[in-house]
């Protein structure tokens, strides 16, 4: 094999090899989602999800989630899951509500390792699933720095 051909094929192999496995891939996130929902169907919408479209520092990203619901004893939002596709561990947080919450809404601060899509998955008291997603661009990522 000529050295040029060898060079090209080895460079191709390097490009294609999964050399940065520190981050979860889209399929990891999909696995986490399918583990939560099992074999039920998911509808899109109903969830308000506030994620800044451009994040300067991935170490603290303020997010807000809200689901429309009357929050009565037999119709309320049971749990809201947040799943980040590009984080080393896709699970971010799972928040459980009760009728006493009055409102299915929370704000917190999360870490984002990379520019990515973040999913929000909500389960109602009758078992129904809803989801939504938001994309963001992260300029300084979390988790990777040395200490």
């Amino acid at each position: 094999m000529s050295s040029r051909r060898l060079f090209i094929s080895s460079m191709t192999a390097i490009c294609l090899s999964p050399w940065h496995r520190a981050q979860a891939s889209t399929s990891d996130a999909q696995q986490v989602i399918s583990k939560i929902i099992g074999n039920q169907s998911v509808k899109t919408g109903r969830i308000y999800f506030e994620l800044p479209p451009l994040v300067e520092n991935g170490n603290l990203v303020a997010v807000k989630c809200a689901v429309q619901s009357p929050m009565t004893a037999n119709d309320y939002v049971k749990v809201i899951h947040m799943i980040a596709e590009g984080n080393p561990l896709p699970n971010v947080v799972s928040c459980y509500f009760t009728p006493l919450s009055g409102k299915a809404e929370f704000s917190t601060r999360i870490r984002l390792a990379d520019s990515q899509r973040v999913w929000v998955l909500a389960q109602m008291s009758n078992g129904e699933f809803w989801r939504t997603s938001a994309d963001t661009v992260v300029t300084l990522s979390a988790c990777t720095e040395m200490i």
């Binding site: 080393p88 699970n91 947080v93 928040c95 009760t98 919450s101």
Partner: protein, 109 residues
Amino acid sequence: MSRSSRAVVTFSNQVKRGELFSIRAIVQHDMESGFRHTEQGVRVPRDIIREFVCTYNGRPVFRADLHPGIGSNPVFIFDAKADQSGVIECRWSGDNDYLTVLQQPITVL
């Protein structure tokens, strides 16, 4: 002996019956993700808060399962419905016997 740290829970201390009020709970914690390395290449072990629970007179209002994707000094802002005077209790528990409990009275008019 469990470890604990400084926590602050804020809400308006007088609420009208039937109204929603917002609770803001913050606690001091590094939330060491377990994905970071020292300069020598040694992985820093994970040390995070695993669970946050808020109860209102013993009844659950809000609970969260935390993962390393939550930033340091975790904050949660959520709502509760005022129905009786009593105590709001916030409890954070996590790795290495971490436990912080904070109780605060609430007056419902």
